[in-house]
Each structure stands twice: as C-alpha cells, then as structure tokens.
C-alpha cells in the first residue's frame, strides 16, 4: 500500500505554478522532496494537508480515496516554522495536545522531551530554532502517526541536532506501516535517510526515483566537447563546461562501454539537473 498517492497536483499563484506533480510514497519508506527555496516543496506539503486549496489533481493519503476526509489523526506534521505560542512551555503543550489528538501518548511525549533534552518548563519563545524544531518533532511523533510530513524540519539545525533528528525519522520507519515525506534543500540530510528522491524545480517534478537506483543510473563523465557531442542525446542529463574540459551528468545506460563514468552524489545530480532545466 502507498502512504501517499499524488496525481497531477496543481496550484496556480500569480508568479508561481505547481505543475502537475505526480508521485507515490510506499509504506515503510522515506521520500525526500529536494528543491531550491521557492521550488514548491512547502506548497506541496500544504496541499497534501489541505491547508491550501489545490487547483487540480488528486491526493490519496493512507488509503483514503481522494475527496474522503483526511485522516489527520494519523499524520504527524512539522512545518518549517513550528507554530506554537511563544508563551507556552513544552509541559503545557503536552497538556493541550491530548485535547486535540485522540491517540496522544503522554509517556512517549515525555520520553522524547527527555531524549531531545528539552526543558518542559521553559517557554517556547526562549528556545533556539533547533529546540523549537525538536519540540515540533516530539509532538509529531507522540500521537501514533503513520505518516510524517516534515517541511524543512532539518534546516537551520546544527550538525549534531540534525543527526539526532534524522535518527528519529529512521527509527520511525522501522515499522513497515509508517512512512515519511521530508522536504529539504539540504541534500546531504536526505541522502542519509531517504529511500526515494523527488527533485522539484520551479514547481515542476524533474525526477522521482529510488535513491539507490538513482545513484546506479547516473554518473559523472569527464570528457571533451567533441566526445560529449558523440554521445546519444538521451545520455546527457546535464553538463558543466570548464577550462579543462566538460563534466557531464550521464545516464549510464546510454554511455558506450569502456567510458570511465565515476559515481555521483545526490547533490551533484540535483545541481546538474536544475542547471540543465534552466
């Protein structure tokens, strides 16, 4: 079963269009939505959550048919800005949320507060950005959600906190009945935990593929201009011309045998594809 099925999701703004987005998120997996600022990541998550009104397309969440009421009880959410009142403490939040989520797990919440080193008596406004994000994550993980939607949940965090947080997400998906959609422009975070990758650029989906397959499929080729032109057009997914030659992102399937294609990381794939799309 898919945790998420997004088909032709479309939203028009005056200066931006989210253009017919289509992807799936299988249960038990993590999908990383990668895109530069303004690519449409937050819009996508808001449309899935019905916080914004879509102009077209369908979204099916946790097996519900499009149009059926969204199972928000089963969705944990962390927004790019955690919307908690500054005057509230983590302890007070732990008394408020049971009135909102039927499946609130008080012991789990208190466990996360301890584990993430969050003082339950400190006001939210006095937390650092990292602590605010950790509190949002603790709340999202404490009501037995089956789907986590995380919008830039790791942005602005220091490396140690990012590591803690990504470990939490990995733990969450050990249960095969759970799934995570995480958006970020920090590709390295997503490379660590994601099973699937979607590249979003200016509202369009450039690519949606299994991470391992992606790294198997693409590689970097150092060559000269004439050598590049000799390749079949479908082999070249992006290129960078330097004074020393050409560096090209290539689809290995179309590159003649014997050519030395080196491995490529997600960030390089993303950058090459975005530049090619522009």
């Amino acid at each position: 079963m898919n945790a998420l099925e997004v088909r032709d999701l479309t939203k028009h703004y005056k200066t931006f269009t989210l253009d017919h987005l289509t992807f799936d998120l299988p249960m038990g997996s993590v999908l990383g939505l990668i895109g530069e600022n303004g690519a449409g990541k937050s819009t996508t998550i808001k449309l899935i959550l019905e916080i914004g009104r879509k102009d077209g397309g369908t979204v099916s969440v946790l097996g519900r048919k499009p149009g059926e009421r969204l199972p928000k009880e089963e969705i944990g959410v962390v927004m790019d800005e955690v919307g908690i009142h500054g005057c509230l403490t983590a302890g007070e939040l732990g008394r408020i949320l049971p009135g909102i989520y039927k499946n609130w797990d008080r012991a789990a919440y208190e466990g996360y507060l301890k584990r993430l080193d969050l003082d339950p008596k400190k006001q939210f406004k006095s937390y650092s950005r990292g602590m605010k994000m950790k509190l949002g994550i603790a709340a999202a993980l404490s009501h037995n959600a089956r789907l986590l939607l995380l919008d830039e949940a790791t942005s602005g965090l220091d490396p140690v906190v990012r590591d803690e947080v990504t470990d939490l997400f990995s733990e969450f998906t050990r249960d095969e009945n759970r799934a995570v959609l995480i958006s970020s422009h920090i590709v390295s975070d997503l490379e660590k935990i994601c099973d699937y990758i979607a590249f979003l650029h200016k509202g369009r989906l450039l690519l949606f593929e299994e991470k391992d397959r992606l790294k198997e499929r693409y590689g970097l080729l150092q060559c000269t201009g004439p050598e590049l032109r000799a390749l079949p057009p479908q082999a070249v997914k992006g290129k960078k011309i330097t004074p020393y030659g050409v560096q090209a992102l290539v689809d290995r399937a179309y590159v003649p045998a014997g050519r030395n294609v080196s491995p490529v990381d997600l960030e390089q794939i993303f950058i090459f594809m975005v530049k090619e799309a522009d």
Binding site: K72, V77, M79, V82, G83, I84, G86, C87, L97, G99
Partner: protein
C-alpha cells in the same frame, strides 16, 4: 476542539493578563461608580469581545493557524471554538459584573443589582454583536486586513444605529412594543449567521 479552547484559556492567562485586569477594573468601577457607569460597563464587554479576534491575529502571527489546520480539528471546529470563547468571555464578564453588584448590595444599597440586570444583558448583547461583526471579517480577510476593516464596519454599524435613533421623521415608539424576547433572539440569529459566514470564509482561505 476542547484542546483548542484549553490552549486559548492558557494563552489568555499568560499573554492577555493585562487586558483581563483592565476588564476586571472597568467592571468593578462600573458597579461602584455613579456617573458614567453604563459607559464603563459597556466598555468592559467591548474589551472582552475583542479578545477572540485578537487571538486569531496572534495565532496567524505565530503560525499556529496553519499548524492547527494540519491537526484533527476541522476548520469549522477551529472557528466554532473562537465563537464559544467569545460567548464564554461575554458571559464571564457579565457574571463578574453581577458579583460586584451583589457586593455593592451587600455593603449597603439593597436591590441595586436587580435594577442593573438589564444593563448586564445589554453588555452581553453588545459583546456578541461585536464578535458577530469582527470574526467574519477576520476569517475572511485575514487578521492584518481585518484590523483596518473592522473599525470601519463597526463604525458604520454604530453610526447607522445612531442615525436611525436620532432621525426626527422616524417613530421609534414602535420598538417599545416589541416583546422582550425578540432582541436576544435577533442577536442569537446574528451570531449564528456570523458563525456560518466565518466558517465559509475560513474554509476558502489558503493558510
């Protein structure tokens, strides 16, 4: 929805304490003051009526609105909770005012509280009218634009009532013949209409 209401009460206790103290003071003064009593009393209800839309404004600024919309309560429930809060606050101010009046009765002037009951009812009614005007605008336009629109609409509403009241050509004696239960019913109907408008407007907004 109870969680939302509980949160609002916690936020009110922590962030709106100064307004609560002002309302308490106004209501106290209105019970013990002779001249200007009615104005102070109505002012205390006016302050209380402004709290729900102020909370909506605060929630939009701290991004709670979008966060809450991702939670199980529906948008209709989010709006309903603010109306419940407004009703609760208006009735609380009414109860507190009555307590002050009973205190005044106890220290000397017996029967004063009973005589003042219509002014408390008028205060609660005024509060609910203001809520009925403010909240649909806030949910429709967003709190920032509503800050400008609300005084204009409230002013037009009040001005219209004053204009009708002061018009020479109109015979308002007919109003005194209207049965006493009609006005509360009219306010309740307006409140329900306002609530429906707010729910409709809030459901259409991108957060």
């Amino acid at each position: 929805m109870l969680g939302l209401l509980y949160q609002d009460l916690v936020v009110l206790r922590k962030a709106f304490l100064s307004i609560a103290m002002i309302i308490l003071l106004l209501s106290f003064l209105s019970a013990f003051q002779g001249a200007g009593m009615l104005l102070l009393r109505l002012l205390s209800f006016t302050f209380a009526a402004m709290v729900p839309s102020s909370l909506v404004d605060l929630e939009e600024r701290v991004r709670w609105t979008a966060y809450a919309a991702a939670m199980p309560p529906t948008r209709g429930e989010m709006v309903t909770e603010k109306y419940l809060l407004g009703l609760l606050l208006s009735l609380t101010v009414g109860a507190v005012t009555l307590l002050w009046l009973l205190l005044r009765d106890a220290v000397g002037e017996a029967g004063y509280a009973a005589a003042q009951l219509p002014t408390i009812a008028a205060g609660v009614g005024l509060g609910l009218l203001l809520i009925s005007v403010q909240l649909p605008l806030t949910y429709w336009l967003g709190s920032q634009k509503a800050v400008i629109a609300t005084p204009i609409v409230t002013g037009l509403f009040t001005g219209g009532v004053c204009f009708v009241g002061m018009s020479d050509g109109l015979d308002l004696s007919v109003l005194s013949k209207i049965p006493g239960f009609v006005l509360p019913l009219a306010i309740a109907a307006l409140l329900v209409l306002s609530w429906r408008l707010s729910v409709w407007a809030f459901r259409r907004r991108d957060l």
